[in-house]
Amino acid sequence: MSSFGNLLEQLVKETQNTSLCHFAPELVLCATIVSLLLLRLLSLDRWIPTYVAVLLGTITSLGLAGSQLLGLLNGDTHAEPFFSGLLMFDAFGAFLRSLLALFLVLVVALTVLTGIPDREDAPDFYTLLLGSTIGMLLMAQANNLLMFFIGIEMTSVPSYVMVGFLKGRKQSSEAALKYVVYGAGAAGVMLYGLSLLAGVLGTVAIPEVSTHLATILGSGSGISDATSRTVILAILMVLVGLAFKLSIVPFHFWCPDAFEGASAEVAGFLSVASKAAAFGLLVRFVYAFVGGANQVAAEVFTGLGIAIGAIAAITVTFGNLAAYSQTNIKRLLAYSTIAHAGYMLMAVSAMIVILAGGRSIEGMDYRAEAARCLEGLLFYLFVYLFMNLGAFAITALLRNQTFSEKIEDFNGVAYEAPVLCVCMMACVFSLVGLPPLGGFWGKLVIFSTLFVSGKIHWFMWVMLAIGGINTVFSLVYYIQILRAMFIKPRAEGARPVQIPTAISNYALLITVPVLLLGMFPTWTTELANKVATILLN
């Protein structure tokens, strides 16, 4: 029993000394949730608006996450697993946590401005929001297949509710039902895959996966035996679950419906945050397999990378084409979200291909190149945070004036809300990927990684071409929004739009980084590169 006692003692010690510190941002968010509930319980929310507490909590969380990131980058602290290896404390995770926390702050600020949860529902809404975020933070740090699933579920369950939060609206309830059914189904498939994976590999700890896998794949019979096939099947099922979160074709169906049914704020939140977290998870998961792959596995994973790339290309194309015919701006942006997930998936695909096949290419520092892929992904996520939130936020802000989210109802608003519309223009052009906006730089980095990985397999060049063509196509539907705002005349008798300065400032606050990231991306790219290099070495 003493060993158990020792174990327990060690656990407590570890928890107190390191794990809780590392877990501080999440803890702050938990505390915020509790305080929200308490505030309402004590009826204090009459004096203290809910959002004040939420903002306080989220900003604190952001500060903590940021300082952790800085610490890790400066080498003050070092990467280590915590909570007995369930979670991983490293720069990659810290980066995503900071990003998510920052995003959370911005979303909360947006909800304050749009007033989407009314006073009564605010604590519930923020509870769900924060809860979902905590799930995402877990996803970003998951170091264990179980945490993998827990993180996804923690993210998903509150978001189901948030989608259906607009009470009494048919569309909203329908969207939520679709989301939940689809999500639960996907989660089920993924879990089944996880169970197979864990069973076959005999471990749930992600860092151990690669060694176990190498043993299996290297056991002589290659991948043709049942075990290997089971592993591949399992991986595939897990990827289905992730693809659902990322809304990758063909697991994207929920996305437009859910986004259209949900309020723009929620849609914006889901489109960025759940993607960022899921990509974090995907990278970790994939790296676990590919990172230590041997020669046999290299071929398999190059194939896998290309397959993912093909799916990414299909996703981009599908997202862009389907967006053509949309009349609802949220729905249009939902398809745009799908397309952008495709672009980002391209980076992952390039990373897999380079990691798996780069060693055999002479003169290629494959780890550095892979780090560039990851850098591209992280940078893209960072820009995407601003530009996509910007687009959704401005939609939400204008919706509060026009009471509609139809594109045609935004006709001519540019002349009554110039700042918002100019910001929208910047965000939209950034989404298209035009310089000197951040989206361009993100695409450039990703395209460049595709180009480099093309040396390993020509298909990556095809993807590059597809990506390029899609950039052109995407212009057509994005510009519908701007055309409505700037070129079409305001409808006769339309209600005049008046935008308070605070709202304009908020829009500027989101948009200026888009511009700055495009003109001076160095700071961010270097940061992302550092993070990526640390993860991949």
Binding site: Y182, G222, I223, S224, L236, P250, V296, E299, S325
Partner: protein, 790 residues
């Protein structure tokens, strides 16, 4: 004497640029403060061109003085001009003085560089020889006369409300407009500038530049009555038909530029070294081509040797510049193509009669005396580059032209059209002469023709003015009594062009001498080349026709009984300002060629004759024609003179019998040959032919070009769209108006596809979930199918 070249260049440049200054001032002030009633523009224009004449004359005198007037010294020998060249030669030529006796006296130099590409250089140069000087004097003099005449002729433009009886608005009223006196003179000034620039040009590129400029002046002047559609159409036609010729011109330029690397006529200074011009490159000092092979397929281009001679480097050096003989022919034909356009030669002669829409002084200056002669001038100037094939082509072109135009002139009734056709015909004579090697004869005719044709045009202008803008001869008749001065001066011109003379006496008008020279050349030529007998017969016959239609014109207009009382009633003699130029010109038309081949004018021209022509040129090339020497021509001169005179007299007599003392009614003849008459009246159907051959097809191609996007891509689009419709089972009309170009094709296809994707997005949860299952299975299958089998 080194300074003479630049000095002459200075004088001529002043003469050349003064009209430009005049033009600028006239145009500026025309829009500005000058009112519509002011004659200042005319005075300025006359001052400019008059001063230009003085400077030209002074340059001429300077030249004469420096050469001690050797040209006018009595030298019976045809190579008399060699003595002139005892004087030191022109700038920069001293280092190969031993060549000088064979090279015509010429001064060349550069104004400034337009562009320089490595060793290639485009510049504005001058090239001054006796021909240049002569042309300057002739052009400025005639232009001055015509300017003066135009003051009278255009005086009805001095109004603020000019009624144009030939232009109607949509209600059928005459168009009222402001008078445009100043504009007319500013255009005339611009034309003078361009024409003189063409004459002084020292390289073929520069000729092209001014070639185009005279073309545009011609365009502006033909279309002077902008309200008249016919005038606009004629102006366009003139310019565009000329451009067709210029197309050939450019091809010639391209070939020469590519193979010779220069456009200069003669040697020029590039940096510190002298480089050969086109003439030195193509011809030796003896005026012959140098072949590099026995089959005569390649011509060597000369470069400077260590002694400063222009020779072809010997041996199989690849550095030797050569030009395929065929390309030299093509280049010559190309440049001649330009001449065809400008000089209205067959088959581009159709624009000139239409160009008579312009005011008559314009016809006199631009479309008879100067611009149209520029083609002949260029053909002469560029003579050294032409090979025998080109010369033969020139000869036949001239031959056909002179005949075709003369036949049409026989049936023309518009007084100016008759003159226009006669101009074409006479230009044909000039071309013929040049093609036959009668270089000096052709230019001789150019000068004499300039005088008598401008005279006749002005006279016809006077008639038109006197008859209040009536141009149809059938409405005239008997005008001699009303306007005797005009009639008499016109008669001088008619006699001159008909080539009448009293045999055995020196009494002969200018046209006799020059045409005589041409016919003599033709005769000598035919003697050497009997195959080409038509080149003698046709001009001979046409000489008769010429006399016939010119006298027909005169008799028709001035004699007989008035055919239209109204016109006759109002006819009156023209004012002094108009008839004085007529008188001046008639003196020159009659007397400018005094002495014929032994006269000063002919000698002056001969001085510039290309080397080697005097001795004749033996047969060579594909054409195998021999050019007669001066001696040959001289030998047949009297014979030719007699037959030509005979032909002319016959023509005159016929005209007299038909139109003055009608023995036979012209109508009867007309009715006898309705087909032929129609054929001639319709101008040999050239216009219709071109309409069908070129104008309509090019408009069709234009429509095709503009419809390419719509029609072709539309078809593709419809096909693509239809198949997409079937595939996606969506039948929705889409905006056909956007269908324009490939972008739309792609755009619409993708949009369609986008719409079709909505089918999948059914909104039904069960199907969504089904997708999960199906997708997983499908992905699994695909992945396993693709994975490498270890």
């Amino acid at each position: 004497m080194d300074s003479l070249g630049p000095e002459l260049a200075t004088y001529l440049s002043i003469a050349w640029l003064l009209p430009l200054v005049g033009f600028v001032i006239e145009v500026m002030n025309g829009f500005g403060q000058w009112n519509r009633l002011s004659r200042k523009a005319a005075l300025l224009a006359i001052a400019c061109i008059g001063t230009g004449f003085l400077f030209s004359s002074y340059a001429f005198c300077r030249w004469g003085t420096e050469t001690n007037w050797a040209v006018f010294a009595e030298h019976e020998s045809h190579d008399g001009h060699a003595s002139v060249l005892d004087n030191p030669k022109e700038v920069g030529h001293d280092h190969h003085a031993e060549n000088k006796s064979a090279v015509p006296l010429a001064y060349s130099g550069k104004f400034y560089t337009l562009a320089k590409f490595g060793n290639l250089e485009l510049s504005l140069d001058y090239y001054i020889d006796s021909l240049t000087l002569l042309m300057f004097c002739m052009v400025t003099f005639i232009a001055t006369c015509i300017h003066v005449f135009a003051v009278g002729y255009m005086s009805d433009e001095l109004t603020i409300e000019y009624v144009d009886h030939h232009a109607h608005d949509s209600h059928g009223h005459h168009v009222h407009r402001l008078g445009r006196f100043y504009r007319f003179f500013s255009f005339l000034s611009l034309f003078c500038f361009a024409m003189l620039g063409l004459v002084i040009a020292g390289n073929i590129f520069q000729v092209f530049v001014f070639w185009e400029l005279v073309g545009i002046c011609s365009f502006l002047l033909i279309g002077f009555y902008t309200e008249r559609k016919s005038a606009n159409v004629a102006a366009n036609k003139a310019f565009i038909v000329n451009r067709v010729g210029d197309f050939g011109f450019i091809i010639g330029l391209m070939i020469l530029w590519t193979y010779c690397g220069t456009f200069n006529f003669t040697e020029y200074k590039s940096g510190e070294t002298m480089k050969p011009g086109l003439f030195e490159m193509v011809r030796t000092a003896e005026g012959e081509l140098t072949y590099t092979d026995d089959t005569h397929e390649t011509v060597a281009l000369h470069t400077s040797n260590e002694h400063g001679h222009w020779v072809a480097p010997q041996g199989e050096s690849t550095k030797r510049r050569t030009i395929p003989y065929m390309l030299l022919v093509v280049a010559g034909l190309g440049v001649f193509g330009g001449c065809i356009g400008k000089s209205a030669q067959f088959p581009l002669q159709t624009w000139l009669p239409d160009a008579m829409e312009g005011p008559t002084p314009v016809s006199a200056l631009v479309h008879s005396a100067t611009m149209v002669a520029a083609g002949v001038y260029l053909a002469a100037r560029f003579f050294p580059v032409f090979t025998s094939e080109v010369l033969l082509a020139i000869a036949y072109t001239g031959c056909i032209t002179l005949f075709v135009a003369a036949t049409i002139a026989v049936v023309a009734t518009d007084i100016k059209k008759v003159l226009a056709y006669s101009t074409i015909s006479q230009l044909g004579y000039m071309m013929l002469a040049i093609g036959l090697g009668g270089w000096a004869a052709g230019l001789f005719h150019l000068i004499t023709h300039a005088f008598f044709k401008s005279l006749m045009f002005l006279a016809s202008g006077a008639v038109i003015y006197g008859c209040h803008h009536e141009q149809e001869m059938p409405k005239m008749g008997g005008l001699f009594k009303k306007m005797p001065i005009t009639a008499l001066t016109m008669l001088v011109g008619v006699i001159a062009i008909a080539g009448l003379a009293i045999p055995g006496t020196p009494i002969a008008f200018s046209g006799y001498h020059s045409k005589d020279a041409i016919v003599a050349t033709a005769l000598a030529y035919t003697q050497h080349n009997p195959v080409h007998f038509l080149l003698f017969m046709t001009p001979l016959v046409t000489a008769g026709i010429t006399a016939f239609y010119m006298f027909r014109l005169w008799f028709y207009t001035f004699t007989g009984t008035p055919r239209d009382e109204h016109v006759y009633e109002h006819a009156h003699e023209v004012p002094k300002v108009m008839f004085v130029p007529l008188l001046v010109l008639s003196v020159l038309a009659a007397g400018c060629a005094i002495g014929g081949e032994h006269g000063q004018l002919f000698k002056m021209i001969s001085l510039s004759e290309p080397v080697g022509l005097a001795e004749g040129v033996p047969a060579s090339g594909v054409a195998q024609v021999t050019l007669p020497s001066h001696d040959d021509i001289h030998a047949v001169h009297s014979t030719a003179g007699v037959v030509a005179l005979l032909a002319a007299s016959l023509g005159t007599l016929t005209a007299f019998l038909l139109y003055c003392k009608p023995v036979v009614k012209p109508e009867n003849i007309k009715n006898q040959f309705p087909g032929l008459h129609n054929f001639l009246v319709e101008k040999w159907y050239f216009d219709d032919l071109y309409e069908a051959l070129f104008i309509r097809p090019s408009h069709a191609v234009a429509r095709w070009a503009t419809g390419f996007d719509r029609l072709i891509l539309d078809g593709i689009l419809h096909g693509a769209a239809k198949s997409t419709v079937i595939v996606s089972a969506i039948d929705r009309k889409f905006d056909e108006g956007f269908v324009d170009g490939i972008v739309n094709l792609v755009g619409n296809t993708t949009r369609r596809f986008g719409y079709s994707l909505r089918v999948f997005q059914t909104g039904q949860i069960r199907q969504y979930v089904m997708f999960i299952a199906v997708s997983v299975v499908a992905l699994f299958a695909v992945l396993f199918a693709l994975l490498p089998k270890a």
